[in-house]
């Protein structure tokens, strides 16, 4: 699925990376905990988050997140947009809540990147 399709579905504002909207996105993850993003995401994922600060983009760059969408109308500051531009990470924003945004993307088949935690008695 293309980032442009995701942007359309979530009615996104594009803060930077307009020229990269044709980028393919294979899977997504959602978290406000950057440590969880570092621990459980995969290279090339889309990140949905409510954490609108520069640390989000630093984490995305280190964890090789392809694009970031801020949920529930969160606005990035200038430093966040500047760093995302520098690292060529498209930064978008949606008015949908985290739950709604994830639901909409899951419904159209965007796979999760974070592994489900297995129960202790679960095999395999």
């Amino acid at each position: 699925m293309l980032l442009s399709s995701i942007s359309e579905i979530l009615q996104c504002d594009i803060f930077c990376g307009k020229e990269q909207l044709s980028m393919p996105i294979e899977f997504g993850c959602a978290s406000d905990l950057m440590s969880d993003v570092l621990a459980f995401s995969q290279s090339g994922a889309l990140l949905l988050t409510g954490l609108a600060n520069i640390q989000t983009i630093k984490t995305a760059h280190i964890a090789e997140i392809n694009a970031v969408i801020l949920v529930r109308g969160k606005k990035p500051d200038i430093s966040m947009i500047a760093f995302a531009t520098e690292k060529k990470i498209p930064l978008l924003g949606t008015r949908f809540s985290m739950y709604e945004a994830c639901g909409l993307l899951y419904k159209i088949g965007l796979d999760p990147t974070m592994e489900r935690l297995k129960c202790e008695n679960e095999n395999g």
Binding site: D32, L33, M34, S35, D36, V37, L38, A39, S43, T49, L51, N53, I54, Q55, T56, K58, T59, H61, I62, A63, E64, S79
Partner: protein, 141 residues
């Protein structure tokens, strides 16, 4: 690559907005050296978590980054409070982070476990009231 690459970085504690500079640079260097992308990502994550720990808890640190044909090592030697119980700090979810750290998306008790997950060898030496030395090694092949 025939030679060993060595570079040191200074990390300043306290300023969370500057956190990640060394790891970003390390990532760029490893890419330039043509290291496998999966290994680059693991090194960058381990280094970034170690850097965040310095920024959140220590006064300052020296990060020594070394790449040889067979392995990559990152040694973060800080001046800080030290870790009273290293095995407790290694447990997922154990955290002594402040509200400010948590507001930046960190301090959930994933740092050291995440460094372990992304390294082939991890050693932590800590002296209370003096500081902590984190030794991270990854095999290149």
């Amino acid at each position: 690559m025939d030679n060993t690459f060595l570079q040191t970085f200074k990390i300043q504690g306290g300023n969370i907005y500057n956190a990640g500079k060394a790891s970003t640079e390390i990532k760029a260097i490893l890419k330039q050296l043509g290291i496998n992308a999966r290994i680059v990502r693991r090194v960058a994550i381990a280094s970034y978590e170690a850097e965040m720990n310095v920024v959140m808890y220590a006064k300052q640190a020296t990060l020594t980054f070394e790449v040889s044909p067979s392995q990559i090592s990152i040694i973060v030697d800080d001046e800080g409070p030290g870790i009273p119980d290293v095995s407790l700090a290694m447990q997922e979810g154990f955290s002594t982070a402040t509200r400010e750290m948590r507001e930046m998306g960190f301090g959930a008790g994933m740092g050291l476990p995440n460094i372990k997950k992304n390294s082939d060898y991890l050693k932590i030496e800590s002296v209370i009231g003096k500081g902590t030395k984190v030794i991270i090694t990854l095999n290149v092949n």
